[in-house]
Subunit: 365 residues, 2 copies
């Protein structure tokens, strides 16, 4: 195996630890803008259902690995280090690795994919299978237990709907950021709430309790000060963090907050429906069942006003076969399962499980 | 007079030129983020109508004087230099100045105003009248020929409605930037057009000729590339520059472009109506006449689809007394006329002209 000593001594541990038998492993990575997580999972024999809990040997955490945010060199160093950490923690080294499945944000084109593949190949020998994907793919796999079929809706600071068919076609909708109309996202919801405060203040819009509630949280004494607060820091996450206040106001009966959440529901449902329609995920009669994996803070259950539940209700009016799934495992585990599934396929082992056989929480709308 | 030598030799010329008689002058400044303009105008006796053309002695141009953009020191140096240039060009010096009216963007609070007043006072002796205002005030005055009464609607990259009553009350609406919902602005129009391209591409929205027309202008081959283009540069003006393409598409019959412009019209009209309502500019019966000064690229006459005309039509349904004005003079002249008007008032000379007597283009809706 080619030895590399990037970061000084990233892989030095391999000389120092004894390898535990001939156990083979898969690395699953979920690389995001906030943090990067690597899971080391043993290759387990196919079983139905999956073993519960899944056999995870180790978990390592590092910082941002989105190359658009921190640059290519820093992103790669982070990814390499988190893989080495996970292997060290599991008592394995690179000779035990059968596959690496890296799902990372900022991978939008085949050129992004190829760049990362080339660099991963410098670390791992040719018999190791390498898979590089956008981070939405790991989110889907975390709900479908590694199978690429169905649609994933991610609604956190941003929002995106990503879909895959069994024959390998894919489509996405939304996910173009706040300037390009991600109204359903956490940022979109919060920005509309801030706008509603300004509109109530200058007479263009109705009075709303969003004004007092949000100004209090931000420590501002007047809507005038909101302008300075808004443009003082370009971070989208800082604005999206106000979503719980908007939900609380809607739950308290505020009409303006209610309408903002309703708009978000319609936008999120529309992005899923666009993907389902383009891929024909619902079958020819529009009634076929398909999994919808739902991920991100905006979709998590609220008390009375549950955005995720409303989105599913909305979608099921057009596509009654929607099977909403809230993943039981994290995206890095989804990535590892995805790698495991790819390996199975490539080695002509047992066929992948069908959509009815997933071991996951399926909540009917 | 106190002598100052900021910028090395800003005022050196005063020792070198002979002063032309005892002619007294007013300086009117329009300080913006793109450029700063200073007009030197002689004090002329009150006449009705105003002399046409107005007696302007000189005009000097400099760069940005918004202290939020370039910092306080650079902003002040720019303002001082452009005043010195205008005086030099007019053959006057500071001893001829009776009043300075400075209308500058970034002046939003009385603390901003006081800071600039204190510094202006270091340049000009105490008998010189000093007035500091937000730049919307000069825009209004450019339409009302120096009188602070009525409403000004500015729609360029951003948008704002600003209103004043004869007894000194004022109100504003919109003008809080793109995150806080300036949908009617040039940026708002163009961002909605870019969003429409993404929505048509991913199946969430109808097909529109905005796609081909805007991608061609930007030299992009696919809507996918629009995301990178949008976030590559945070300048709002770069996006707002696409407004003429949206107007051309609407004029060619594109429904999506038409609806975006229609939305802009409603938003701009709403911001004016909010100001008129709050200030009672329309009188008790809602039918009183009031001037509406219209400024900025978005409101300039287009061929078939005239946003400014549609805005006036919309407002006149609620307030039939609206008197739209497209200024014949630039805002710096408006500032000089404002200074002239303040002087008149303070010296108990002839009363200000009434709204029926302005020498300006009044176009009935």
């Amino acid at each position: 195996m080619k030895k590399r000593y990037r970061n000084g001594e990233t892989w030095d541990f391999e000389h120092e630890i004894g390898v535990l038998g001939d156990r083979e492993v898969i690395l699953g990575l979920d690389g995001g803008t906030t943090s990067t997580i690597c899971i080391c999972m043993p290759i387990f024999p196919f079983s139905d259902p999956f073993p519960d809990p899944l056999p995870v040997l180790s978990r390592a955490v590092a910082g941002c690995s989105n190359h658009n945010s921190v640059g290519e060199t820093a992103a790669r160093e982070t990814l390499e280090q988190v893989m080495a950490d996970a292997l060290l923690k599991s008592g394995s080294n690179r000779s035990a690795v059968r596959a690496v499945c890296l799902s990372v944000s900022g991978v939008n084109h085949s050129t992004d994919e190829l760049g990362i593949l080339n660099w991963l190949r410098e670390i791992f020998p040719t018999h190791v299978k390498l898979y590089v994907q956008n981070d939405a793919v790991a989110a889907l796999a975390s709900g479908t237990m590694g199978k690429l079929h169905g649609c994933v809706l991610i609604a956190g600071t941003g929002s995106i709907a990503f879909g895959f068919t069994e024959d390998g076609r894919q489509a996405r909708a939304a996910g173009a950021g706040p300037v390009l109309g991600d109204r359903g996202s956490g940022y979109g919801i919060a920005a509309q709430a801030l706008t509603a405060i300004i509109r109530a203040y200058d007479g263009r819009g109705p009075v709303t309790i969003l004004s007092s509630n949000i100004l209090q949280i931000l420590g501002l004494s007047s809507p005038d000060e909101l302008i300075g607060w808004t443009y003082a820091d370009p971070s989208w996450a800082r604005i999206a963090a106000l979503v719980p206040v908007v939900v609380a106001c809607a739950e308290a009966g505020d009409r303006v907050a209610h309408e903002i959440l309703q708009d978000s529901v319609e936008e999120l449902a529309l992005s899923v429906k666009a993907v389902v329609q383009r891929l024909g995920l619902c079958g020819e009669d529009g009634k076929g069942s398909f999994p919808l994996v739902m991920v991100g803070g905006v979709l998590e259950a609220n008390n009375k006003w549950d955005i995720g539940k409303e989105v599913v209700n909305h979608i099921s009016k057009s596509y009654p076969g929607v099977l909403p799934i809230r993943p039981k495992v994290e995206p890095a585990v989804g990535a590892a399962l995805l790698g495991w599934n790819f390996l199975l396929k490539e080695s002509h082992m047992e066929p992948c499980k069908t959509s009815e056989e997933w071991n996951c929480t399926v909540a009917r709308p």
